[in-house]
């Protein structure tokens, strides 16, 4: 995430690990699918939100 901010990506959704941006192998398959869906919903919220500078769309801590 710090790299995304530094190079100026306009809308950033933080995830949990470099090798699995839209997953988390620590979770059960059902929990992981729910987490992935939540990330996509955050991303959709981000692209529908006006921003003027690199902005992180983190949401509440999950699990």
């Amino acid at each position: 995430m710090s790299i995304a901010l530094r190079v100026g990506a306009p809308r950033i959704v933080p995830t949990r690990g470099i090798p699995y941006p839209t997953g988390d192998p620590e979770l059960s398959p059902e929990q992981e699918r729910a987490w992935r869906r939540q990330l996509l919903e955050r991303a959709l919220h981000a692209v529908a939100t006006p921003v003027s500078e690199p902005t992180v769309f983190g949401g509440d801590p999950v699990e």
Binding site: A4, G8, I18, P21, R33, R36, L44, V47
Partner: protein
């Protein structure tokens, strides 16, 4: 000298974004800003034709440049001038490509664009003259370009003083003052508050203006993109695992999920064991299809784009970004999720 001038569809008066798919063509004489350029070039030079191509077409068909250069040569062109492209990415890429194609064909060429234009990195040693950021600076940009063009026409080399920007081929010369004297001068300048003075400018990340938000995701077509080295199993397009010089596209038709054994990651910068066990961890296709079925998005683009972000040069990455944006615009996509590893 007989000059051919390159313009995009907008400055040639063909149209705006709706006409960005226009193919290459050659028109007689100067067009649009070419008229002012012709006046600035003076009586010794004549713009005999204007080469025109839509920005989307130029960004997605690299062969447009060779075709236009050939037509320019048929008109007896002795010099090709492209732009100014200001900070417009697709236009800058097109100017760089046609100037490079001309130079490779033995036709002297120069392009004009702002130093932040991603096209600058594509110019491959061809002369690029600095322009303003936007067309509001057209006048001074054309004056600088015309002065540089007259110099090139008379066989002189262009330097930073002429407004040359981007990579300049290195040449040895005798310095008037020793390295020690120049270094102390730079230290004194720094102590005096000058933070810009340098003999070796470092590459800088440009500032990108964020795109306007979409009104409602439920009406939007969404694309999935990734730099996670994400490929069909077996990597048929031979996407590189590091220092990628290209990107690939693959159809998502008939795929409800990124199944293990169908897709994999060839990224060389991390262990791909988790990605290959569950490829939706790199390209979230299962969740995107779910949102598509529920109507939370208007639709999912029928293909994904991927490259490998591992030691990839900023110049290549910029080019991928400009090409992806042009492709998505042409396909009518309003939003994209790019998963980054």
């Amino acid at each position: 000298m007989r000059v051919v001038h390159y313009l995009n569809q907008f400055f040639a008066g063909v149209g705006g974004e709706d006409a960005a798919g226009t193919g290459p063509e050659l028109r007689d004489g100067p067009v649009g800003p070419g008229r002012k350029l012709a006046a600035l070039l003076g009586d010794e030079h004549e713009i005999v034709a204007t080469a025109v191509c839509g920005d989307d077409h130029a960004a997605t068909h690299a062969d447009f440049a060779a075709a236009l250069v050939e037509q320019a040569r048929a008109r007896g062109a002795e010099l090709l001038i492209a732009g100014p492209a200001f900070t417009s990415g697709r236009y800058g890429l097109a100017c760089a490509r046609i100037a490079t194609a001309a130079a490779e064909a033995g036709l002297p060429a120069l392009a004009a664009m702002h130093p932040d234009n991603p096209g600058l990195a594509e110019a491959a040693g061809t002369s690029v003259i600095e322009s303003a950021e936007t067309a509001r600076g057209m006048g001074p940009s054309l004056e600088r370009l015309a002065a540089a063009a007259r110099k090139v026409a008379s066989g002189e080399e262009l330097s930073i003083q002429d407004g040359r920007v981007g990579p300049v081929p290195r040449a040895n010369r005798m310095a008037e003052r020793s390295a020690a004297v120049r270094a102390v001068d730079l230290v004194v300048a720094r102590l005096g508050g000058d933070r810009e003075a340098t003999e070796i400018p470092l590459p800088a990340f440009d500032q990108v203006t964020p795109a306007a938000p979409i009104a409602d995701p439920a009406d939007a077509l969404l694309a999935l993109l990734t730099e996670g080295g994400f490929v069909p199993v077996g990597n048929p397009d031979r996407l590189e695992s590091a220092r990628a010089t290209k990107w690939i596209r693959h159809s998502l038709d008939g795929h409800d999920s990124a199944e293990a054994g169908t897709f994999e990651s060839v990224h060389g910068g991390f262990s791909t064991q988790w990605a290959n066990a569950e490829p939706n961890r790199i390209l979230p296709l299962d969740a995107a299809r779910e949102l598509e079925r529920e109507g939370a998005i208007g639709g999912l683009h029928n293909e994904y784009f991927a490259t490998t972000g591992n030691g990839t040069t900023v110049a290549d990455a910029r080019r991928f970004g400009v090409e992806w944006a042009a492709e998505l615009r042409q396909a009518g996509i309003q939003a994209a999720i790019l998963t980054a590893t």
